[in-house]
C-alpha cells in the first residue's frame, strides 16, 4: 500500500512499457492514485479504472499511442477536460485513456481568412479570447465553454446557447486531422468546409469518440456582431414565457439565443453568481439579439412589445457588456450551481419540437410530483432543448428514483417527437435508451459505418450503442415513433 507508483498488472506491464517507449515517463500514468483520478468524467455515476493513462504531447504521439493500443489489441478512450455529462469519456476496463490535455496550442489565428487552427485540448472560450482582439469570435458556446475543449466539442457536436442562430460544432469545423483506430492520420473536410466526396468530417463530428481521435481542428471564426442586445424578462408563468418564444418565431426573428429558467433554477444560479435574476419569478427568459445595429434595433423593439403583450412582470436590459456577461454567467453556471440548493442532482438533456414545450413541462412537473422529487428547469427555449435538473439526496436513498425519473423524462422527449439528447451526447448514460429512438436497423447501419472506421471497435467501446453488457441481453423494446404512428413517417 505504501508505494502507489507501480500498480501494473500482468496486462499493463508490457503495455505501459510500450507507452514508455513512445512517451516520456511523466506522460504515462500507471499508479493507482493517478489511474483512479481518471475513473470518471463529469458524470460521476459511472466509474471504471483504466489500465493506463497516457498524456501525449502532439498528434504524432497520439498516433503512436493508438498504434501501441492496436498492437496490444486494447481499447482506448480519448479524454478532453472530462466535463462531459453522458459518461462519454468513461474508461474501459483494461483499456487506455488518452488524455489530450497536453495538446493545448492555438496553432493559428488566421484573421484574413477567419479561421483558427487548434489542437484538441484548447478550451472553447480561449478560441474567442484569442480571436477577439481581431474583432472575431468562435460561435458555439456550450455552458461549460470556459473548461470544455474543442476536441470534446467535436466528439459531442456541442452547441450552446447561441446555436439557434449559429448552429453547432459541425457547422463551424472546416477541417480536422484525425487519428484512426489503426494509428493512421487522415485529414477530413477541406479549407472551405466543402469536401470532394462524402462528408466524412460531418459524420465524425458528434460520433462521441467512437470513430477516432481528433488531433487538429480548423474552425471558422465569425465577425463580432456590431450590436448585441440582451433582454432579461420575468413572466408570471412558464406558459406565458413559452408563448413569447412562439411569437418571436412567428415574427421571423431568429434571436442569437432564447433561454428559459424556472424559479428553482434561478434560485440556484442567483446564489452562485448574483447575476440579477428574480428568484421568485415563476419563469424568466433571456433573449439575445445580435447582428447589424439597424436590424437589432428594429427587432428589439418588436421583442419588448411581444414580452409586454404576454404580461412580463419585469423587463431588464443590461446595457454594459460586463452586466450582460453577468446575466450569462448566471445562466451558464446554473447546472453546477444547483449543487447549492440540493445535495445531489442529475442533469437531463432532451429535446422536443419547440411547439411542444408547454406540454412537456407540464408532464415533467407531474412526473416529478409522482416521484416526490423536485425538478428545476433550464432550457434553450428557441430550439426545444430541455435541461431538467432532477434534485435528490443520495443520503436519503433517493438515487434510484431520481435516475428513473431522469430517464423517463428523456424518453418522454422521444415520445413527443424529439430526441434523447440535444448536446450532452448518448455516451454511457443513454446508450440503453437508444432503442427508444432508433430501430434495430437504424442502429445496425450506424454500427456498420463504425466498423468501416474501426473494424475491431476499439475506439471508445461501450458508448453510444446499446450493448447487452450495459443494458441486459434484451435492450429496451423499440416503440414506434409518434410520427410513425401518425402515419407521417413509415418504417419498414
Amino acid at each position: 500500500m505504501a508505494t502507489p507508483t507501480t500498480a501494473t498488472g500482468p496486462t499493463t506491464g508490457p503495455l505501459a512499457a510500450d507507452f514508455a517507449a513512445v512517451l516520456p515517463d511523466t506522460c504515462v500514468i500507471t499508479d493507482e492514485v493517478g489511474l483512479r483520478s481518471y475513473e470518471c468524467d463529469g458524470l460521476t455515476g459511472f466509474r471504471q479504472v483504466p489500465a493506463v493513462v497516457v498524456l501525449p504531447r502532439d498528434a504524432e504521439e497520439v498516433a503512436a499511442c493508438v498504434r501501441v493500443c492496436a498492437r496490444h489489441g486494447v481499447p482506448f478512450v480519448a479524454r478532453g477536460a472530462g466535463t462531459g455529462l453522458s459518461g462519454g469519456a468513461l474508461p474501459v476496463a483494461d483499456g487506455v485513456v488518452i488524455s489530450l490535455q497536453k495538446l493545448r496550442r492555438i496553432l493559428e489565428i488566421d484573421v484574413e481568412n477567419r479561421r483558427a487552427v487548434l489542437e484538441p485540448g484548447v478550451f472553447n472560450l480561449d478560441i474567442t479570447r484569442a480571436a477577439s482582439p481581431h474583432g472575431l469570435y468562435y460561435a458555439p458556446d456550450p455552458s461549460s465553454q470556459q473548461v470544455c475543449t474543442i476536441g470534446g466539442n467535436v466528439a459531442e457536436n456541442s452547441g450552446g446557447a447561441h446555436c439557434l442562430k449559429y448552429g453547432f460544432t459541425t457547422n463551424h469545423v472546416l477541417e480536422m486531422e484525425v487519428v484512426l483506430a489503426d494509428g493512421s492520420l487522415v485529414t477530413l473536410g477541406g479549407p472551405t468546409g466543402d469536401q470532394a466526396g462524402p462528408d466524412l468530417r460531418g459524420l465524425f463530428i458528434g460520433s462521441e469518440g467512437t470513430l477516432g481521435i481528433c488531433t487538429k481542428v480548423t474552425v471558422r471564426l465569425l465577425q463580432t456582431p456590431e450590436s448585441v442586445r440582451t433582454l432579461l424578462a420575468d413572466f408570471p408563468s412558464i406558459e406565458a414565457a413559452g408563448d413569447v418564444v412562439g411569437d418571436i418565431v412567428e415574427a421571423a426573428i431568429i434571436p442569437a439565443a432564447v433561454e428559459m429558467m424556472d424559479s428553482l433554477a434561478m434560485e440556484a444560479a442567483e446564489a452562485a453568481t448574483g447575476a440579477g435574476l428574480t428568484v421568485d419569478a415563476p419563469a424568466a427568459l433571456i433573449v439575445e439579439l445580435d447582428g447589424p445595429a439597424d436590424e437589432v434595433d428594429a427587432e428589439f423593439e418588436h421583442l419588448t412589445a411581444i414580452c409586454e403583450r404576454h404580461g412580463a412582470t419585469r423587463l431588464h436590459v443590461p446595457t454594459e457588456a460586463e452586466e450582460r456577461a453577468r446575466v450569462w454567467k448566471g445562466r451558464k453556471a446554473a447546472f453546477a450551481a444547483v449543487g447549492r440548493i440540493s445535495p445531489d442532482y442529475i442533469v437531463q438533456d432532451g429535446v422536443v419540437p419547440r411547439t411542444r414545450l408547454a406540454e412537456v413541462l407540464t408532464r415533467i412537473a407531474e412526473m416529478g410530483r409522482d416521484a416526490g422529487l423536485r425538478v428545476a428547469n433550464v432550457f434553450h427555449a428557441g430550439d426545444g432543448n430541455l435541461h431538467p435538473l432532477v434534485l435528490y439526496s443520495e443520503a436519503a436513498g433517493e438515487h434510484d428514483a431520481a435516475e428513473e425519473l431522469s430517464t423517463q423524462i428523456a424518453e418522454l422527449c422521444v415520445e413527443l417527437g424529439g430526441s434523447l439528447s440535444g448536446e450532452h451526447g448518448i455516451g454511457t448514460d443513454k446508450a440503453c435508451s437508444m432503442p427508444r429512438m432508433f430501430s434495430p436497423d437504424d442502429l445496425d447501419v450506424m454500427h456498420r459505418v463504425r466498423l468501416g472506421f474501426d473494424p475491431d471497435s476499439r475506439c471508445n467501446p461501450g458508448k453510444l450503442f446499446p450493448t447487452p453488457r450495459l443494458c441486459g441481453e434484451r435492450p429496451g423494446p423499440y416503440r414506434p415513433h409518434p410520427l410513425e404512428e401518425a402515419g407521417v413517417i413509415e418504417r419498414l
Binding site: 468524467d41 473548461v147 453546477a336 442532482y345
Partner: protein, 468 residues
C-alpha cells in the same frame, strides 16, 4: 537559471517525490484500514459535507496553475478533492502520491473563485495539510528544508541577519555564480530557488523600524493598527513606510506595535497548524492592547490568514471569541483606502503611467478584493490601468511554494512574466511581497514593480515613484 532546461509543461511535472518516504519502508498503516475518517486522523479531517459540494463539473480546471502546466487530473482542484474523498474512505494512504499532489497545490484559491457550486476548497486544503504534516513522515532533506524555512522567515531578527549576509553576498556574488548553480545536482534545486529569490535589500532598510505611532494629518478619521509583517518589514520596509504615510495622510492615526511578530500565515498555508495558532494568539493579544478600530494589512497572504483566525481558534474556549473579534477588524489596506475615496483628504499629484495591476491570489481569490485596489489606483490622475491576460492564474509565488516546488513555480513565473510583458505597461503593481519577489525574478529590471500604496504615496507626496 533554469532556462536551459526543457519547459516542464511539455512533459509534466518531474517526479518530485520529496514528500514520499525517503529512507525506510513504511510501517503497516493502521489509518488506511480503520476509523471513520479513512486515512485521515480524527483531528479536523476534511469535512464530508464540504467534499460533497464538489459535483466534478471541472469549471476549476482552467484556473488551476498546476493543471495549466501539466493538464493532469490529479494536479487539479477537482482531482485533489477526489483524492481527499478516496483518503476519507480509506481507499488510499496519505503518504506517497496523495501527499505529492496536495504538496503541489499552490493554495492560490483560483478554483474557489471559479467554482459555481461554492466548494470551499480553501477549507478543505487547510484541513488536509495539517493531516499530512502530522501523519506523513517526510524525507530527511525535505524535513530539514521546511524546518529551515520556518526557522528563518517568520523571524524579523533572523531575516535581518540573513539579509545582511545577503546584501554582502549580492555585492560579492561572482558573475560565474549562475553557471555554478546551474550545475548543481537536482536535489539541491530548492536551495538554488531560495538563493535566486533573495531581493536586493539595503542594509539600512533591513534594520529600519516602522514608527510605533504616527498621528493623522488633519482631522482624525480613526485609529488604525498596522501589521508590519516579517518578510515585508525586512525586505520591503519602504512599503511599510509608504503605508504609514498614506494612511496618515488620509486621516488615520497609525499604530504599529513594536512587539508584534509573524502572523503565522506562511505556516498556516503549509499545514503547520499548532505553530500558527500560537502566533495568532500572540498577535491578537498585541493588537488588543493597541486598542485600534481597524487592523490594516498590506500583505495579501497575512491579511487572508488574519481574517481566518476566528476559524483557526474556534475550538479554543479562551481564544475563540477574541479571535473572531480580531478577524472582524482586519482589513486590507486597499479596503481602508477605498473607503476613504469618497471623502479623500490627500490631494494626488499626476503620475503619467500605464499600470498593470496583478491580483495577488490571497487578495483576489482568498479575500475577493479586486475592485478596491483598482479604485485606489484610478484615484491617481494620469494612471491608466490595464488588465492582465490569465489574471486568475497564480504567479507561482504562493507563500513558500516557490522554494518547495521550484520547477513548477519557475514555469508559472515565466508564464506570468510573458503575460506582463505582453501588456506593454510602464509599471507593475501588486499587493503582496511574495508576488513581487517571484515576478521580479523573471522580469528583473524590465519594468519597475511597486506595491499600490507606494504609487499612491508618491502621488500624494508629488515625488517620482520609486524606480521610475
Amino acid at each position: 537559471m533554469t532556462d536551459t532546461q526543457p519547459p516542464t509543461h511539455e512533459t509534466g511535472p518531474s517526479p518530485d517525490y520529496t514528500s514520499e518516504r525517503g529512507e525506510k519502508a513504511a510501517p503497516e498503516r493502521a489509518d488506511v484500514l480503520s476509523g471513520d475518517f479513512g486515512s485521515f486522523d480524527d483531528h479536523h479531517p476534511p469535512a464530508q459535507e464540504l467534499l460533497d459540494d464538489c459535483v466534478h463539473c471541472g469549471f476549476c480546471l482552467p484556473t488551476c496553475p498546476t493543471y495549466a502546466l501539466w493538464g493532469e487530473e490529479m494536479d487539479s482542484p477537482r482531482g485533489r478533492i477526489y483524492l481527499m474523498e478516496m483518503a476519507e474512505k480509506g481507499e488510499i494512504p496519505l503518504e506517497g502520491a496523495f501527499t505529492t499532489h496536495i504538496d503541489r497545490c499552490l493554495g492560490c484559491m483560483a478554483c474557489v473563485t471559479a467554482c459555481p457550486s461554492g466548494v470551499q476548497y480553501d477549507r478543505l486544503l487547510e484541513a488536509t495539510r495539517p493531516q499530512i504534516e502530522r501523519n506523513v513522515p517526510r524525507s530527511r532533506a525535505d524535513r530539514l528544508f521546511r524546518e529551515a524555512i520556518f526557522t528563518l522567515f517568520p523571524y524579523r531578527r533572523r531575516l535581518r541577519a540573513a539579509s545582511l549576509g545577503g546584501a554582502l553576498y549580492q555585492k560579492l556574488r561572482p558573475a560565474t555564480m549562475d553557471r555554478l548553480l546551474a550545475k548543481l545536482p537536482r536535489r539541491l534545486e530548492r536551495l538554488v530557488a531560495m538563493e535566486s529569490l533573495l531581493p536586493p535589500v539595503s542594509v539600512r532598510d533591513a534594520f529600519a523600524r516602522t514608527p510605533i505611532f504616527t498621528p493623522a494629518v488633519g482631522t482624525r478619521r480613526g485609529r488604525v493598527g498596522m501589521l508590519t509583517g516579517c518578510v515585508q518589514d525586512v525586505f520591503f520596509h519602504q512599503v511599510n513606510l509608504a503605508t504609514v504615510r498614506v494612511l496618515a495622510a488620509e486621516g488615520h492615526d497609525v499604530v504599529a506595535p513594536a512587539e508584534q511578530a509573524c502572523c503565522g500565515a506562511l505556516g498556516l498555508h503549509a499545514g503547520r497548524e499548532e505553530e500558527s495558532a500560537e502566533r495568532a494568539r500572540a498577535l491578537i493579544a498585541v493588537f488588543e492592547r493597541a486598542e485600534v478600530d481597524v487592523i490594516a494589512v498590506n500583505v495579501a497572504g497575512c491579511g487572508s490568514s488574519m481574517k481566518e483566525y476566528g476559524e483557526l481558534l474556534a475550538d479554543d474556549p479562551v481564544w475563540a471569541d477574541r479571535a473572531a473579534a480580531f478577524s472582524a477588524k482586519v482589513r486590507d489596506v486597499s479596503e481602508v483606502l477605498a473607503d476613504a475615496l469618497a471623502d479623500s483628504r490627500a490631494p494626488r499629484h499626476r503620475v503619467d503611467a500605464t499600470v498593470v495591476y496583478h491580483d495577488a491570489c490571497h487578495l483576489g481569490h482568498a479575500q475577493k478584493i479586486r475592485t478596491q485596489p483598482r479604485d485606489v489606483l484610478r484615484s491617481i490622475p494620469g494612471v491608466t490601468l490595464t488588465e492582465l491576460p490569465e489574471a486568475e492564474i497564480c504567479c507561482g509565488s504562493a507563500g513558500i511554494y516557490n522554494m518547495l516546488q521550484p520547477e513548477a513555480a519557475g514555469d508559472l513565473g515565466r508564464r506570468k512574466a510573458d503575460n506582463i510583458r505582453g501588456t506593454g505597461a510602464d509599471l507593475l503593481v501588486t499587493a503582496n511581497p511574495g508576488c513581487l519577489l517571484q515576478i521580479r525574478k523573471y522580469l528583473e529590471g524590465e519594468l519597475p514593480m511597486l506595491h499600490p500604496v507606494q504609487l499612491l504615496d508618491a502621488s500624494i507626496r508629488g515625488v517620482r515613484p520609486p524606480g521610475m
